[in-house]
Structure formats: C-alpha cells, structure tokens
C-alpha cells in the first residue's frame, strides 16, 4: 500500500468564493496574472516546497507534483523544476511528476530528456506521469484540441521509445518526425520509470492504462466518491480483459484529506478552504461558470454528459448538516478514527494500492496543513497500511 503526498501549489489569495465569482468567470485562462503577487510568491514556493519535504520526514512513500498553465489553480507550469529541487532536498521518497502535458511540448523528446534527468538526479526515484493536459490549457497554449487524443498517444509512444530504444533512431509518426532521437541522459530505472496517467474516468484512458501496464490515477476531487468507485470497477475489468495480473499499486485515488482531533473540528477547519478550492480555483472547468472545454477535447456526447453532471451537482440538493455535506463530497475529512475507517474500507473495497492525498487544498494555511499531515501520517497511514496490505495478501494481490 502506497501513501503519496500530492501538492497542487495553489494561489491562496483570491477573494472569497462569493465575491470572487461575482467578478470573474473562471480562475483559468482569463483570470489576470496581475492578481499574482511575486513578492508573496517567494514565501509561497518556499512554504510549499517545505511541505513536500516534510511529507518525506513523516514517512509518506512519495511526493507528487503536477503541471498547470495560466491559472490560479496550480503554480507549477513546470513541475520538473519543483521535482528537480526535490531531488536535492529529499533522500528516499518517490518523486511523482503527474504529469507532463506531452502534447504541449514540441518535440516531446524534451519530456523524455527532462524526466531522464530527474530519474538520474534522484537515484531512480521518478514516477513519470504523462498527461493529455487540461481542456483550459488547449486554449492557453492554442494547441488544436481536436488532435489532443491521437497526438497524446503518439507523444507518449515517442517518449517511451526514447527511453528504451538505443539511439540514435528515427521516429516517423503522424505528428512528430524526428530523424535523430538520441536523448542524453537515459533514465536510471530500467526499462524505464513507471508511467502513471491521471484521468477523470474516460473509458478509453482506463483501457489504455490497463493495456500498457501503466498506472491509472483517478481524479476524484470534484465528484462524490461513488464516481471514483465506477472508475475503479472499470479499471479492474480492463486489467482482466488485458490479461495482466492485478497490481493494486497501479490503481490510484486522488482525493482531498484533512485530519483534526475531532470530526466537528476537522469539518469546521477544512470547510472554508475546501470551498475556496472547489468554488474559486476549480471555476473554469467545473462549477456553474464558464467551462473551458474546447471542441473535440472530448466527444460531443461526453461533453453533453459532463455538462449534465455539472448542472445536477450545482442544482441538486445539499445536505444541510455540514458534516454530511462534507462527507458526501470529501469523505476523508474527520478525526483520525473516522478517516482511517473510511479509507481502509474504501481501499479494500476498490483494491486501491495508491492513495494520493491532497492534504493542502485551496487556501488551507501552513499551520493547519502541517498538523493535518502529521495526524494523517501518524494516526491513519500505519493502520490503513497494515490492514490493506494484509487484505491484499489474503486476496493474493500483493506484488511478488
């Protein structure tokens, strides 16, 4: 069982949700970067890097960074820079870059090069996340979204070949034509670093991961936990169909987590920062406002379904009790007892071997983040690790 610490590095200083949404259509693409204060930004990068380093001290198995462009949601347009810093400040934890949006790099061999550097610099600790990139980023980078999926598959193929085929070799695809592929350095891990792909539940992504033996990391911040449950079932079926042995570590759950002494205290402390995350920062691809989903990024029927789901969530009934409301969307907010119970049940039920916990979310400040991280690491992880490992061993699902 793997416990990873996931950071988005959000900008925490926007106006509170109601005020913000009255003024702005989204936190993506068009939110002016005049809102970003580089002076405050210095302290923020320092703080966020410290939190990643602290996660290793606390015994997390891995540290996760990711790529976003031109928004307040995530301040890592180049997660590789942050990962490079982590190679020098940590010793043991895996460094998971989840991921590089390969279609935004031309040629994508740049990704093969930088990730090989990270793997060598970290002593073989890299987990390579390769992603298609978010819908809003196709606006920000002006890449044709109708080509997103085939371009992504070709770029991924090129990156893996660049790691595994002795160079120089020629690559002749539909989108990329390179007479000399020969990146120095090569990765330390052989045949190549593990590849993990995050997704929102698209069947084709799930099947692709199962088929290739890549990790599938389901993003579940924006939907009730049952939504991820359906993704997990689809992944189990896809692995069986691909004829591979099931490895729980390759199924990941990306979820928000907050732990405090009691359930009431946890909900009360997390609620405003969770609201900032879901209402301010995610505005732009979820929520009631503008949805930066470019044409062709997903098929029209999938887009219609996506919008229907958004409307149902925005207009549907909400539990009036704050604890129930929180549990419906973010079940891992509570006392150590509550979180360990829910998490253990959930990972066993869905055979999840990797939990990528977003323990800093929205505007959650440093002190609350550190306390929650410590409680989670000391009072939740050891219990769930033991219970899940024993369960997977009984089920014959442990890695050889």
């Amino acid at each position: 069982m793997n416990f990873f610490f996931f950071h988005l590095m959000p900008w925490p200083n926007l106006a509170p949700p109601r005020e913000f949404l009255a003024e702005h259509e989204a936190a993506w693409v068009t939110l002016s970067n005049a809102e970003y204060d580089p002076v405050a930004g210095q302290d923020l990068y320092r703080r966020y890097l410290d939190e990643l380093v602290y996660a290793e001290e606390l015994g997390f198995d891995g540290l996760v960074v990711n790529e976003h462009h031109q928004n307040a949601y995530g301040l890592m347009p180049s997660p590789n820079l942050v990962a490079a810093a982590l190679t020098q400040r940590t010793e043991r934890a895996k460094i998971c870059v989840l991921g590089n949006a390969v279609t935004l790099y031309n040629p994508p061999t740049r990704v093969a090069e930088e990730m090989a550097m990270l793997d060598v610099m970290s002593g073989g600790r890299l987990i390579a996340g390769l992603v298609v990139g978010g819908g809003p980023e196709y606006y920000s980078y002006n890449v044709n979204p109708t080509e997103a999926r085939p371009r992504f598959k070709e770029a991924l193929d090129l990156v893996v070949k660049a790691w595994t085929t002795p160079g120089p070799f020629a690559y002749d695809g539909d989108y990329y034509h390179l007479p000399y592929v020969n990146p120095w350095p090569r990765p330390l891990q052989q045949p190549h670093p593990p590849v993990w792909i995050p997704g929102l539940g698209s069947p084709s992504t799930i099947e692709f991961c199962a088929d290739k033996g890549f990790g599938y990391m389901g993003v579940a911040y924006y939907a009730p936990p049952e939504t991820f449950g359906r993704q997990a079932q689809a992944y189990h079926a896809a692995v069986a169909a691909a004829g591979r042995p099931y490895d729980p570590e390759l199924l990941g759950w990306l979820t928000t987590i907050y732990v405090a002494e009691t359930d009431d205290r946890a909900v009360e402390e997390a609620a405003p920062h969770m609201a900032y995350f879901q209402a301010n920062l995610a505005a732009g691809f979820v929520g009631a406002g503008k949805v930066w989903m470019p044409p062709g990024y997903i098929d029209p029927p999938a887009l219609v379904q996506f919008l229907d789901d958004l409307r149902a969530q925005a207009e549907g009934p909400r539990p009036s009790d704050p604890r129930e409301a929180m549990a419906a969307r973010s079940p891992l907010v509570g006392s150590p007892e509550t979180v360990r119970q829910r998490l253990a049940d959930y990972v066993k039920r869905h055979k999840i071997g990797t939990v990528l916990g977003l323990l800093q979310f929205g505007s959650l400040p440093a002190d609350l983040t550190a306390r929650s991280m410590r409680l989670y690491a000391e009072e939740v992880i050891p219990y769930v690790r033991k219970e899940a490992d024993e369960h997977f061993a009984r089920e014959g699902l442990m890695r050889p």
Binding site: P145, P295, G296, P300
Partner: protein, 285 residues
C-alpha cells in the same frame, strides 16, 4: 412571394469517396451550392429542420444543395482529412456525385471561407459566388474576438456570450432560436459536433485566418459579392475590405444593423444574393 419550400425539401445521405454526407436539397431552378456557417444556419444549431427562411427564399429560384460540412449533422469528413485541400476536393467530389457541372456558390462564415477555397482551386465549377460574413482572411495585428473562447459552454447560464458575439440582437428571436439558454440534448450535440468539425481546420493559429488564402486571393477571378453585416462583432470590417481589395472581380455590400449570423438575422438578404447572381447567371424570373 411565399414559397412552401419545406414541402419540397429532400434530405438525404450520400456517400462521397467513402465519407457520409448529409445533404438538404430543395427549390427549383439551376443548382446553387450553399455552404453553411458556424451558427444559426442550416446544419448548424437549428435542430429538427434542414430548412431556413433564408434558404426558402433562395429555393424560389434555385435548386439549393446544402451539404452539412464535415462534423455537422452526421457528415463525416474524408478519412484522415486535416487541411483545406482535402476539404475542397471533398466538396468537388460531392458535386461530381450529384452530377452537377457548375454552380452558383453561396457560403456563410466558415462556409464562405470554404467557398473561396473551392473557387480558388476549381474556378471551372463556380459561375458566380456570394460570400456572407466570410471568415478566412488574415489581417496581421487586427484584434479579433476569440470565437472558441466566447462559445465555450457554461455549467449554468446558457449561451449569452456566444449570442452577443454572433448576433446584432443577442436577445432577438433568431439568436434565441439558434442558441437558447435551455438548449436540449439533440441541439447540444449538433452545436458541439459542428464546433468540433470547424475547430479541425479553424483552430490553427490564428483562428479562422488563413495567410495562404489571403496571399492567393488575387487569383480568384470568379464574380463575387461579399456581404457584410454592419454589426458583425466577430469579423472586423477591415477583413471585408481585404476580400474586395484583393479579388479582381469582387464587390462589397454592407447590410446595416445585422450581426455575423446574417442569414438567420436577416433572411431578406436572399434578395441581394439573387440580384447579384442573376446578373451573372441567366434564367432568373
């Protein structure tokens, strides 16, 4: 004159070089090929009907052939197509399948761009051409509203921004009919599917502006009328000027108070289209 063209409408699916094409056809007279626009037009964002008041008027004097462009209304593009060249040969193939030797060509918006590309490569197919609020020319440094950003959907709240960009009267009947805030499922599929088809060619930077076409405009010597809505907020008037300045046989007609979706907002413009085509094409009553 009232013409019950809907009664004579024929909607069919043709196989054009292995690609399915939905074609709406109606009216009487010599053939007129109509290439629809991005919005508020036959095949684009009017669900459940293939006919529009604008085409109804043209149908009084012409045999109007209105194919759905690739991505729209069930039309597939040619296999693997990714450039204007494929698109144009696809249209030429369609005329051959229909056994039409030459046509009057009318295009709106994105369809006008494709019409010009066809006239550039196959002038033998085109007797005269009308371009309604055409996209396609490149004017460097000109501020053009970002179409794909404006039409991005909203979780709640409908399509006001898109209507604002595409119609002179964003709350008028034509705008509300093309882009209602409570757009139903079939309508959404039509709208998003069309955008996907248009993005395939139109997304390339800068959106809907072809530097290649622009430098070749002087080679299009088909008699051409460029019609511009005076309140077109998507296409700046400098672009209309580039068309008529560059094309030796082009003239400009401006219709005041109308937005980008000209045929939907002012179907009466059909009279100007007929008037112009009649000058170059015999047989009008």
């Amino acid at each position: 004159m009232t013409v019950d063209v809907a009664a004579r409408l024929d909607r069919s699916t043709l196989d054009v070089g292995g690609a399915e094409v939905t074609v709406a056809r109606g009216g009487e007279g010599d053939p007129l090929l109509y290439l629809h626009g991005l919005c508020g037009d036959v095949h684009s964002s009017f669900p459940g009907t293939d006919w529009t008041p604008f085409l109804g008027r043209l149908g009084a004097n012409f045999d109007v052939v209105a194919p759905a462009l690739p991505g729209y209304n069930g039309s597939a593009g040619p296999a693997g197509f990714d450039d204007v060249e494929d698109y144009v040969f696809h249209l030429a193939d369609l005329l051959e399948v229909l056994d039409i030797e030459s046509v009057c060509l009318v295009g709106h918006s994105f369809g006008a761009w494709m019409a010009a590309e066809l006239a550039l490569r196959r002038p033998d197919l085109v007797e005269a051409m009308v371009l309604l609020s055409p996209l396609g020319v490149r004017v460097r440094g000109l501020a053009v509203p970002p179409f794909f950003g404006a039409v991005a959907p909203r979780g709640i709240g409908g399509f006001a921004e898109a209507r604002q960009l595409l119609f002179a009267d964003p709350e008028g009947e034509a705008a509300r009919r093309a882009l209602p805030d409570d757009m139903g499922r079939e309508h959404q599929l039509l709208w998003f599917g069309g955008l996907q088809g248009a993005a395939r060619l139109g997304w390339a930077a800068p959106h809907f502006q072809s530097p290649v076409l622009t430098r070749r405009l002087r080679r299009i010597d088909v008699p051409t009328l460029v019609v511009r809505g005076g309140a077109d907020r998507l296409v700046p008037d400098q672009m209309a000027e580039v068309w008529v300045r560059s094309m030796p046989e082009a003239q400009l007609h401006e219709v005041p108070g109308v937005g980008h979706c000209l045929p939907a907002e002012r179907p009466e413009v059909a009279a100007d289209v007929e008037g112009f085509l009649g000058e170059f094409h015999g047989g009008l009553p």
